[in-house]
């Protein structure tokens, strides 16, 4: 019977905290929804998942134009035409997945049955996608080109079987990443994804210490002291930030020592990115802390928010495998910008002055500043009731 008395009390306590109760019920539903949507692209059907392919027509012939027109009908690709310089620049900076270049002489090569001067240049961080791109291109373009080539070859060689092998060889699409792919590319992906997710978990937990301060009365004492509420919040945020910076550096140093991450030449941009990421994550932790009122809420909200941000931001599965709209939503997460920043440094090897890299840093700082601003307002308004 004693067990039932405790059971009743526990249930009573659980149902008293309506916000925690809502989270308990809603959390699994929200998580299932977010993960299903995020991983929707993996099933293969995902109509929304289109690979963004830039196409450059240096040949500018009827055939090359016809080829490009044909690419539009491929469902899995979103085609954008531009110049080669611009395409390479955009791919190099991770804005687009790849660029398909029809070099000058493409049509002539088809007519002369020579090796085709076309190539696929891709962002090294998205090599997984390239298999799918090549498959789609060949499926759609092979028929037309091979037909034209075969007619010539029949005239030249009169040998059907050897023609087919020869055509395959001639049509081979040269593909290469724009950046030198490091041997330990997997480490960069693991580090970037995991580091930010773990950071969010630990910082939301640190933020929840405000609840502890409330419970033991120290928050009330602090609020009654000459310290301003901004001092209290800023001090807490700064400590979270220092913790975050240390945690990120430790992870990087470990990755460097254990898995050969090339850290030293990239130390300056890595430091800048670490500080920006730490600021954004610490602000996120403080924001969570300023909206929660109980330990149960702290646990629920921080887990929910961290898992959602990690899922949509690419910590759990690379963003490019998600449906396009989900990739767009992912831009609202800290994870996305931090992960892309790490890719910029360690894979794309962008210069520290590159606007793309600096842009990502600016977005992280912007997220941090916005969350800090709202945290401060919420904390100011709720601090007394919290205490």
């Amino acid at each position: 019977m004693g067990m039932f008395i405790i059971l009743k009390k526990e249930l009573q306590a659980f149902f008293k905290d309506k916000r925690a109760l809502m989270l308990g019920i809603l959390m699994p539903i929200i998580l299932i929804t977010v993960f299903s949507l995020a991983f929707g692209g993996l099933g293969g059907k995902g109509k929304d998942h289109k690979i963004q392919l830039l196409v450059c027509d240096e040949d500018k012939t009827d055939l090359s134009k016809e080829m490009i027109g044909g690419l539009d009908s491929i469902e899995s690709l979103a085609i954008f035409t531009t110049t080669t310089d611009s395409a390479l620049n955009l791919v190099k900076r991770g804005r687009y997945s790849a660029a398909l270049i029809f070099h000058k002489g493409f049509t002539d090569s088809v007519k002369a049955v020579k090796h085709l001067p076309w190539e696929l240049k891709y962002d090294a961080t998205r090599s997984i996608e390239m298999g799918m791109v090549q498959q789609s291109l060949l499926q759609n373009l092979y028929g037309k080109i091979s037909k034209m080539m075969n007619e010539k070859l029949i005239i030249q060689m009169k040998n059907f079987e050897s023609n087919s092998k020869e055509i395959n060889k001639l049509m081979q699409l040269k593909n290469s990443p724009l950046q030198k792919v490091p041997d330990n590319q997997g480490v960069v992906q693991a580090l970037a994804g995991t580091a930010v997710m773990m950071l969010l978990f630990s910082l939301t937990a640190m933020g929840a210490r405000l609840i502890e301060e409330k419970e033991n009365g120290t928050l009330k004492r602090l609020l009654s002291s000459p310290l301003k509420t901004t001092d209290i919040l800023a001090g807490k945020m700064l400590s979270s930030m220092i913790f975050a910076i240390c945690q990120l550096f430790i992870m990087m140093i470990f990755s460097s020592l254990a898995f050969g991450l090339v850290l030293l030449p990239n130390l300056v941009p890595a430091t800048i990115l670490i500080i920006a990421t730490a600021f954004a994550c610490a602000s996120f932790g403080m924001f969570i802390a300023s909206i929660i009122k109980t330990r149960e809420q702290a646990q629920g909200v921080s887990t929910l928010a961290t898992l959602i941000m990690s899922a949509i931001g690419g910590s759990m599965v690379p963003s490019f495998l998600m449906p396009q709209w989900m990739q767009n939503v992912g831009h609202a997460s800290i994870n996305y910008w931090a992960i892309q920043g790490f890719f910029d440094i360690f894979i794309r090897q962008l210069q520290i002055t590159d606007f793309v890299f600096l842009g990502r840093v600016a977005v992280l700082i912007g997220i941090g500043a916005t969350l800090s601003f709202f945290s401060l307002i919420l904390f100011r308004n709720n601090a007394t009731s919290m205490a």
Partner: protein, 306 residues
Amino acid sequence: MIEVKNITKSYDKTQAVRGISFSIKDGECYGLLGPNGAGKSTTINMLSMLFPPDSGQITIGGLDVNKGNTKVKSMLGIVPQEIALYEKFTAWENILFWGSVYGVKGKALTDKAEELLKWVGLYDRRKDNVEDYSGGMKRRINIACALLHSPKVLLLDEPTVGVDPQSRNLIFELIQQLNKEGMTIIYTTHYMEEAEKLCDRIGIIDKGLIIAQGTLDELKSQSQVNDMILVDCDRAPDEKMLSDKLKTTVAVSDKRISILSEDSKKDLTRIVTTCNDAGYEINRIDIQKGNLEGVFLKMTGKQLRD
């Protein structure tokens, strides 16, 4: 030193403070005496600028508290009801932290910290984590942490809750010493003996209102209280029945009956007879000469611990 004029405070639909006014002179020890939920802590929280009153005015040292003046905060030392310390920190670390919060720095801070730790008798244990302290020791550190900046006014919100009698006496001595040195003190409690022992003047607070205030003698004469008879029975007595038969103010808490009497010698026989007739077995009888408990009973019709 402190002027409180008609302050009110509501939480949602509950009016915790319904128009309290009092003034405290420099160097005075003023007690706010009332049961739990009477509005003592809300009043202290408004005085300590944790939140402003909904209406009314508080001035401390001539400065308006409602205007969020940080100068006022520096004048105040606050000892909250909770043991507001960092349990994983040592006493020394706690005391340095709270001192620095109030702007005390360097040698002045360490000297004052040493002085206070010696004063509360915990200097030898200063390197121990607060979590390893007894309740009484924690309470003493809780007080010391409020004194590092030598405040002019000390607000103590039930500082002896949950401590053993020995520690309580030690805390009384500390507070009395501070008061002797000229510190203005506001002390909230629901223990009559604490208010009687420590406070120059007492405000009796109930349901968000101060129902009487003055020195102990003034309160006794205001309420015309003589004696109070306390009767412990074998079971909870019927308050209404006793009140009707004895025709005086009677309050029952658990198995104890508190009866106000103008002449205890005369009333005692009548009380014993009434209890016996009602079938209550008397375990103990105490007669107290005019004290705060009687004043409170007379003014509120209930015992302070109700």
